[in-house]
Symmetry: C2
């Protein structure tokens, strides 16, 4: 192997691999400190160090092993070229609704190359049908690879791009749109699309997977079937997230885009509706609405596209001992808005008050959410809450901190006027505020 | 009423009150826009504006009403001086264990003055017994008012003060310590005491209440009884939080100090053990351990007090579009550590990588937790996680972000040596890491 091959290996790690005459895709055995590891040698990314080699184990996980002078590397099998020939796409049933599937990247949009462990976007229509043949019974699917990003790399500019793309599909007459997305920031993107795509005629469903398609426990297929079913048939026309209801494959929940949050790093039921009921459940192919409070599908409606976002808005989580000068720093940098993730009913330490006063004086909108996640801020119960309001801090009721920062970014994409921005922030635009007393639970039960 | 009285009122609001010849504590009727509000006129804090008056309604809530030219204020009743004569303290049973109750403030430590709505610390022994007479059957109680702070105002220096105070009580031979604390940052303080008070011979129980003692739904008494019971009798010797298990009064849960988080703004069962089982349940006065994995009460043990904390550590919650220069700012300000609250399995956008590299280069410890809250970071699954590790970012397994920032503050209170600090950060000191696979649920069911 040479460095030219762009395997990503360099330094000691590369030397060890060359010595073993191994190439990317070969099966190798690494012996170190009496431990033996066997797997497929996979490439490293540009940020890899010079000390580790990475192999894909039989169980599908990758591990990095540090190459030391006593590490022994043997090539025990030759890599084979992947032979993936998708079946011909099924004949599309003209009676079925048209659904657009837009891929932005993430685990769900990936097909892992079994040989190298490398991940590549795989949502061409034929790939999709080959992985999830059931889809051809639900809808006529038109697929597009728009982005190929792990979702932690998605920025507000990408929300704009996705929103415009969805709008195009809707204007072309598609009967529902599915956006395949990495799960890490899917909640943020769902909120962003909820504000950017107003007066929707049809549903827009974000979907991800927590386990990649090459693992037996993958939720990719079930989630995709749920998302396409919702896009094709759901009676609502809102932005929603489709993911597993529980850790088993029995049901998919649809969560309103402004009220959903990833609450577990790895579980398949990681997404929860917070301070609101879920929108709907899909079980055995049937959609059951879980609330009467939703916007109805209506193809005669005319979509209003408002895709711009400002990046001069920050989310700031308070903690004891937080340096209040950070608030001054945002003001100096020309920020237009700060969403505080305060404690309890919506508080921050009194030692932050002077900086907050300064921010408000400079026309920065400062608004309050709670790091409790569940519940509603109430800044009228204690003096300190009333004092914060007197300083100009705006309480955001039961809005999620993540939704709040997206909303304020969106608001400053629409207007430069601070008073108008404040008014928009307090207005319930797309279900980001729930009415009081309707819902009160923690977790998923 | 004159301004001399320090009612806090000024400007228009003061004028209106003077015109109505009302004083703090009087019952007044405010008529505005056809709405009528009746309640007790209560004082305002130094940060109050000139436009609002605040009254305490019959239901116990305070509301602020903006005084406009058409607002009518009438005095309808004269305030009565509060007549609170605590009963004589009960004769203490010398057979019972000695428990120290240290008050730091917050709702639980407050007795609301019914006349004015003002809140004052009320945890003298006689006050305590008068509010919760059952306590005299559980323990001989020694009370102390150490601080009188709403917990959002508690800073790392207060953790030091509380830890030293608890240590004194333990050295004097008390058989258990209760720390009454505001709920907003009680989780942070519980983590801080867990690190500061090592090799504990007896339990240290933090307790708060979500509803003040003057409301029928108050959880103050039940929580206090639970906390004193645990301090007096629990078989474990750890720092724990005692709060309602459910919204009813049937049971109190004890949560390990490093694994607990306030997950609801107002519910009585707001505190949850995260990524770990609760430590114990108290029901009908009986304590049942819920895990076998705990440190046992042992009066022969010698407490090790390590009460110092550094304030040069920050918690930074990542969000799409976050400005990475904020990381550079912490470096410039001489910060020693940054806890990232990343997405999913422990990621941040690739656009933060250069700033992270710069931080690590300047000997700043950067470590990763997840904003999912539940679950475990795993930075070996995706390239981006491995790349972050290659940059020097340390994965913190299933540690809570809130516990992580407290731990790193504590570590830099113990050492200036970065390598030693890293080693401590990765060491399971007081149950802040749970073993893999033991526990996996979201919420409380």
């Amino acid at each position: 192997m040479s460095e030219k091959e762009e395997s990503g290996y360099k330094g000691e790690a590369l030397k060890a691999i060359i010595k073993a005459e191994a190439e990317i895709g070969d099966i190798i055995r690494v012996t170190k400190n009496g431990q033996v590891y066997e797997g497929i040698l996979i490439p490293r990314s540009e940020y890899g160090d010079e000390k580790h080699i990475v192999i894909k184990l039989k169980n599908g996980y990758n591990i990095g092993i540090r190459v030391t002078p006593d590490t022994k590397i043997e090539k025990i099998g030759k890599g084979v070229k992947p032979a993936f020939t998708p079946p011909p796409p099924p004949v599309q049933n003209p009676e079925l609704p048209k659904v657009a599937v837009i891929s932005t990247g993430g685990t769900i949009a990936s097909r892992v190359d079994y040989r190298t462990g490398a991940v590549r976007p795989a949502l061409t229509a034929s790939d999709l049908y080959s992985v999830v043949p059931e889809l051809s019974d639900i809808a006529r699917i038109d697929t597009q690879i728009l982005l190929s990003l792990f979702s932690e790399n998605i920025e507000p500019k990408h929300w704009t791009e996705i929103a415009k793309n969805v709008a195009e599909k809707i204007e072309e007459g598609t009967e529902g749109v599915v956006v395949a997305h990495g799960t890490d920031t899917m909640g943020y993107t769902a909120a962003a699309l909820s504000f950017a795509l107003q007066n929707l005629p049809v549903p827009v469903i974000l979907v991800g997977s927590q386990r990649s398609a090459d693992r037996p426990s993958s939720d990719a297929a079930t989630n995709l079937i749920g998302a396409v079913t919702a896009a094709a048939k759901a009676p609502f026309a809102e932005v929603a997230v489709a993911m597993h209801e529980t850790t088993s494959d029995t049901a998919i929940l649809l969560h309103r885009g402004t009220k959903v949050r990833k609450c577990h790093t790895s579980r398949r039921d990681a997404f929860k509706s917070i301070n609101a009921p879920s929108l709907a459940r899909i079980k055995d192919g049937k959609i059951t609405m879980l609330t009467e409070n939703y916007r109805k599908r209506d193809p005669t409606k005319k979509l209003v596209l408002k895709p711009e976002f400002s990046d001069k808005v920050a989310l700031l989580k308070f903690h004891p001992g937080m340096n209040p000068s950070i608030i001054d720093w945002f003001v100096e940098k020309g920020y237009k808005g700060i969403i505080l993730e305060g404690t309890g009913l919506g508080h921050v330490g009194r030692y932050c008050f002077e900086s907050l006063r300064n921010a408000v004086k400079h026309n920065v909108i400062v608004a309050m959410t709670s790091q409790c996640i569940w519940g509603r801020v109430n800044m009228n119960v204690y003096d300190q809450g009333r004092d914060l309001q007197a300083l100009g801090v705006i309480p955001l009721e039961d809005m999620l901190p993540e939704t709040a920062v997206v909303k304020l970014m969106w608001i400053f994409g629409q207007t430069e006027n601070v008073e108008e921005a404040k008014k928009l922030l307090k207005t319930n635009i797309t279900g980001e505020f729930s009415p009081r007393t309707t819902f009160d639970k923690i977790g998923n039960k």
